[in-house]
């Protein structure tokens, strides 16, 4: 089993978001960066599958050198090697092109990533990579088992879930509870230092979209408290004041 896991590197879920340079750039001061939580689930499942079936797990990130400690952490939880495409992840199409270019050379059985990155929440990359490689893609996948050359996967659908069976190779966008997050142990951290982290230059064309400016949501007005004894007035207020019922 040859598995590629694509990692996005994003601000922590609890990070306070603000912008600089006339609202054209994320203010990185005080912001901790992490591997995308959904990507982390994908990585954990990949490592479990490797332990179960044998094979290799390669992690791939499109980003600058600042992300290398996070890539090393992925190696510490059990990936065998890593590739960093040395470019700013300009948009989903650009990132997908980088992934597809590498996948074309290496023919992976599985290409896993999170259902979406938690910075731009696009949820686009797996589908675009699937099209570029002519492979099926499914998302969001909550459960994944491999038997021989077939994947059984449970996908969340509106109001429920769906169990699918599809032949490998596949591209999958993952989400919980596909696996438990792994915490690297000391041995993992030590071995990760010597695992290969190859840096390659980007290929392909420019992005199709470009964020030009950022905005924060308008400040929320003060909460209107309703005494518990008069709880019923909530329904009236929603009707006549907020006009949403």
């Amino acid at each position: 089993m040859k598995i590629l896991v694509c990692l996005s590197i994003v601000p922590d879920t609890t990070a306070k978001i603000s912008f600089t340079d006339g609202d054209t750039k994320l203010n990185k001061t005080g912001v901790q960066f992490i591997a995308g939580p959904y990507d982390d689930y994908a990585l954990s499942r990949a490592v479990d599958l490797k332990e179960q079936l044998g094979g290799t797990v390669t992690v791939l990130n499109v980003g600058d050198a600042d992300g290398e400690p996070i890539i090393r952490k992925a190696l510490a939880v059990g990936a065998d090697d890593a590739i960093r495409v040395n470019a700013e992840p300009r948009d989903a199409y650009f990132v997908a092109e980088q992934i597809a270019a590498i996948a074309q050379r290496e023919s992976y059985d599985l290409i896993l990533m999170g259902r979406e990155s938690i910075d731009f929440n696009g949820g686009q990359v797996h589908g675009i990579v699937g099209e570029m490689l002519g492979l099926p893609s499914y998302s969001p996948v909550m459960k994944l088992e491999i038997t021989g050359h077939t994947a059984q996967l449970t996908r969340e659908i509106e109001g429920g879930k769906e169990l699918l069976e599809a032949p490998l190779p596949l591209v999958l966008g993952c989400q919980e509870p596909i696996a438990e997050w792994k915490i690297p142990n000391m041995r993992g951290i030590m071995t990760a230092r010597t695992k290969p982290l190859n840096v390659v230059e980007p290929t392909g064309q420019d992005s199709l979209t470009q964020a030009t400016r950022f905005e924060l949501p308008p400040a929320k007005g003060a909460v209107k408290m309703i005494p518990a004894a008069e709880a019923e007035t909530l329904i009236t207020l929603l009707r006549t004041e907020a006009k949403v019922l």
Partner: protein, 321 residues
């Protein structure tokens, strides 16, 4: 050049979120001085000509039973064929489980720029710029979409459709779809029927650990029923298996943007807020006056959910007919 809107069917009816997408797409078409076409995939007895009320002049209908099960790969092939037929330059899709994958596959197929979670009509005064939600609702970006085809996925509640009397012409459409799109075998589908889906809901009543256990959900469900609302839950609740995972709202679950979000016994962790901050009005009911959720709320009630919920249900039944 035209605008194509995917109108998603759910149990044979066009989804509410898709009706908003039709109206949005028709508005974009007007701005670009072109026409808007709807694409409906699957068999339906709905009156498709009436979609004209939302501003589309034509409906392409792919009436194929094989496509009644939502298969994003096959749908993307159909959509790409419709884009060619209509010479569409802008494609609008309402966000949903199907819509998200359809948009991504179509972007790859058509080499189209794709912006997800769009929250406003585009600015076409100088190029094509759209505003969309990022950082799980903590911010917005204004993104320039370059020359060429563009795909937008829309958040719910971006527009409030104003209906006209117009009817659309309905044309049947049967593009060829590659067999490889049907490579996955669907072994089993579990879908709650008859419930209002969370992504389509105008009102959501949601419960957290303060509900004390799955056996106590009845008062919450009764309020939801009285308000014609969908039910949701916080992550701990779905982790504990009190409620199904598809009801989980938050950073790693569903992101919703209803008119009203009523949180019952949810303290309001930042990860939960990330899933609901697009809501127009937030109501928080919690016995803990220090619950952080109150800071993000429009209306708050400090009290016992098991006392408050039945009273709200009674009031709703009396006032809403």
């Amino acid at each position: 050049m035209s605008v194509l809107i995917f109108a998603e069917l759910d149990q044979g009816e066009v989804k509410v979120a898709s009706l908003e997408a039709l109206y949005y797409g028709a508005n974009v078409a007007q701005e670009l001085q072109t026409s808007a076409t709807a694409l409906v995939i699957g068999t339906t007895s709905a009156d498709l000509a009436s979609l004209g009320q939302y501003g589309v002049t034509k409906v392409l209908h792919v009436s194929d039973e094989k496509l009644n099960a939502a298969n994003a790969l096959a749908y993307a092939s159909v959509l790409a064929a419709a884009v060619e037929l209509e010479q569409a330059s802008v494609i609008v899709i309402a966000k949903s489980s199907l819509g998200d994958t359809l948009a991504a596959r179509s972007a790859g197929k058509l080499k189209a720029g794709l912006v997800s979670n769009v929250t406003e009509l585009p600015d076409t005064s100088n190029g094509f710029r759209v505003k969309h939600s990022i950082y799980t609702g903590k911010a917005f970006a204004i993104t320039e979409m370059r020359e060429g085809r563009k795909i937008l996925t829309l958040k719910k509640n971006v527009v409030s459709p104003e209906l006209s009397q117009a009817t659309a012409s309905v044309e049947s459409f049967s593009p060829s779809i590659p067999e490889t799109d049907f490579v996955a075998k669907v072994i089993q589908t579990e879908k709650a029927t008859g419930e209002i889906s969370l992504s389509d809901a105008d009102i959501i009543v949601s419960g957290g650990r303060g509900m004390k256990g799955p056996e106590h959900w009845k008062p919450l469900e009764e309020l939801a029923e009285a308000l014609h609302a969908a039910t949701g839950c916080s992550k701990p609740v779905s982790d504990l298996d009190w409620r199904p995972h598809h009801e989980h709202i938050g950073q790693t679950g569903l992101k919703v943007s209803p008119n009203v979000y009523i949180a019952c016994g949810i303290s309001g962790a930042i990860q939960h807020l990330a899933g609901v901050n697009g809501s127009k009005v937030i109501v928080v009911i919690n016995k803990d006056p220090e619950a952080p959720f109150f800071k993000a709320a429009d209306y708050g009630i400090v009290g016992d959910v098991f006392d408050i919920l039945p009273r709200l249900t009674k009031a709703a039944r009396e006032q809403l007919v």
